[in-house]
């Protein structure tokens, strides 16, 4: 009896749910499009992603190509954003650097969101000792402020861009875990979760099908805003010499190298910094727009 109910009810629910979801998605999309900041952010990010993918086609020069005769060439017709101390074209390096920064944002956020969501779901759903144990772990991670936890992890993993992505991702896990745990505590008190349990649904199924969809909205918002923070943290690690290593065309390391020539060749560090800021700003604008559209309570 319970097994039958379990098979039939979700089937009916699923078709209703898909109609409701698609109309909800349309509504959310409409709200995002009405938000001018979010549209600007989205348009810039779309342009950046396309440029990063097409970098080999659109970049005017080889990002690693050393041309001594072009060293410290100021911005102009030959090199739109100038050339660095080794004569490498800054625009080309920025376009290739976009690949690294966007990948860093994506991978770090994926690590943080996946691990944080699993920890938050388990802690919130099971409660008791499991919650306590995960809570202490999260509290300990939160005891390392800002970039410090990432620094500690990079110390263990060794400096490098991949390790920086992992470090930034791990350091962000507590934020996701806390958010998801709180949302699960609210969601699991709902009657439909109780009903799913009564009809014999297994715990992973309840967590996956009945609780996770309810916490998706704040998760999407946090992941979007988290990508901005990840790009900033990754660039900071590279700036300190603990992330990407030369001659990688990464924005943080370009800025770090460029600051040595700031007196006579400002463009070396000006454009990488501007690229980081505008990208982070665009993601923040999109994140704010998503937050307003998906979950007005978080406004």
């Amino acid at each position: 009896m319970s097994a039958e109910t379990d098979v039939r009810l979700p089937a009916v629910d699923a078709s209703r749910e898909s109609i409701r979801s698609s109309s909800q998605a349309r509504e959310v999309w409409g709200r995002i499009l009405r938000n001018r900041g979010a549209v600007v952010g989205m348009a810039f990010l779309a342009l950046l992603i396309v440029s990063a993918i097409l970098a080999p086609l659109v970049a005017p020069a080889d990002p690693l190509g050393v041309v001594p005769t072009n060293a410290q060439r100021p911005p102009g017709a030959e090199a739109w954003l100038g050339a660095d101390h080794l004569g490498r074209d800054i625009l080309s390096r920025l376009l290739y650097g976009a690949r690294i920064s966007l990948t860093l944002g994506l991978i770090s956020v994926s690590i943080a969101a996946i691990c944080g969501t699993i920890l938050g779901l388990v802690a919130g759903y099971y409660g008791g000792r499991v919650d306590l144990a995960i809570g202490v772990l999260i509290d300990v991670m939160l005891a390392f402020p800002g970039i410090l936890l990432a620094l500690g992890i990079v110390t263990v993993l060794r400096p490098g861009i991949v390790n920086a992505m992992v470090a930034v991702g791990i350091a962000a896990i507590p934020t996701y875990s806390r958010l998801i745990r709180g949302s699960v505590l609210t969601a699991k008190a709902n009657l439909y979760v109780e009903a799913a349990r009564v009809v014999g649904c297994q715990t992973p199924r309840i967590l996956w099908l009945h609780i996770l969809p309810n916490v998706l909205a704040p998760l999407i918002v946090l992941a979007t805003l988290g990508a901005a923070q990840a790009i900033l943290a990754g660039a900071a690690l590279s700036f300190l010499g603990l992330g990407a290593q030369p001659p990688t065309p990464e924005w943080g390391i370009m800025l770090s190298e460029g600051r040595r020539y700031i007196r006579d060749a400002w463009w070396n560090s000006m454009f990488p910094g501007l690229a980081i800021m505008v990208t982070v700003l665009a993601i923040n604008l999109l994140g704010d727009g998503l937050r307003d559209a998906l979950d007005p309570r978080l406004k």
Binding site: A236, W266, L285
Partner: protein
């Protein structure tokens, strides 16, 4: 209140223990022999590596090593620097005042800019001033602090020659690093103050104050601000930790001595005892700062301690 203080103090103990375990584990999680990794670049002999293993007690079982690390930390003994052979505590003690000075100055900048900016935005809700203030705040949270530092050096040190770009000592060497470090926090505080004041202004007691004929200035300063600033205390406390960690980047940008720069250099030259010690000190300071903020919050808002 005293039971609340007791509870919070008790809760801080496992976190501090966890922090000590995490910092202890840093060295032990290194892939390979930590002594060999630390001495790899100097091409040290097998005897020197063995001596370092002995000095760090790496041959003992892990619980014994941790017990020694914890007891040493409680006595203020964090081992010796691989590079200078000086006690780590002594190295940190020499750098800490500069880092604390920078953090406090940045905090003053953050509060000095963030609170008025948030108030300005809230009192001109949806007006051009609100939009301008929030655009500035959004810029503040999006701007990499290390880039802002470079821009300020370019403008105020190299172009105008008003302030020194690097070093330590005197207020003139503190202004640029403090502003660079505090600007991002100011943006976060401004956003919170704005939303907190807007929330409080909707309350009935504010309507009553207005109905009594009090001027908007008095309503804001005497009635709304006091309550609106309670949640701000929390974020200011959290920002203290973020600013302390932020010195890692800012001290590097301005070539300023301090614990933050010390951590980065120690990681780069693989002087792990120094890195461990400095990270432990910063994390412990952060936990204690959060504890003080929690207690302050409970003192300001009785609902917290009786809730």
């Amino acid at each position: 209140m005293s039971s609340y203080v007791r509870t919070r103090l008790t809760l801080a103990i496992p976190v501090l223990l966890g922090v000590s375990i995490a910092v202890f584990a840093m060295l032990r999680l290194l892939p390979g022999d930590p002594a060999q990794i630390m001495l790899a670049e100097s091409g040290a002999s097998a005897e020197r590596v063995a001596a370092l293993r002995q000095q760090l007690g790496l041959d003992d079982p892990l619980p014994v090593q941790y017990g020694r690390f914890l007891m040493g930390a409680l006595r203020g003994d964090l081992g010796r620097s691989i590079l200078s052979n000086r006690p780590v505590t002594q190295e940190i003690a020499g750098q800490l005042p500069s880092t604390i000075e920078l953090t406090l100055a940045a905090m003053a900048v953050a509060i000095g800019i963030g609170v008025p900016l948030g108030l300005l935005a809230a009192t001109h809700h949806n007006g051009p001033l609100d939009l301008g203030a929030m655009a500035l705040a959004l810029g503040g949270v999006s701007m990499p602090s290390f880039w802002l530092g470079v821009l300020l050096i370019l403008l105020f040190s190299l172009r105008l020659g008003w302030l020194p770009a690097t070093g330590q000592g005197g207020i003139e060497r503190l202004i640029l690093p403090a502003f660079t470090l505090g600007f991002g926090a100011a943006a976060i505080i401004a956003r919170l103050v704005r939303s907190s004041v807007l929330e409080v202004l909707r309350h009935e007691y504010v309507t009553t104050a207005r109905a009594k004929g009090l001027s908007p200035r008095v309503v804001l300063l005497r009635h709304a601000l006091k309550n609106a600033l309670i949640p701000v205390v929390t974020i200011v406390g959290l920002q203290f930790g973020a600013l302390l960690a932020g010195t890692v980047v800012i001290e590097t940008v301005f070539s300023r001595p301090g614990v933050g720069r010390m951590v980065v250099n120690a990681i780069l030259v693989k002087d792990f005892p120094v890195a461990q010690g400095a990270i432990l000190i910063i994390a412990t300071t952060y936990v204690l700062a959060n504890l003080i903020v929690d207690l302050l919050y409970a003192w300001l808002d009785p609902r917290v301690r009786y809730g």
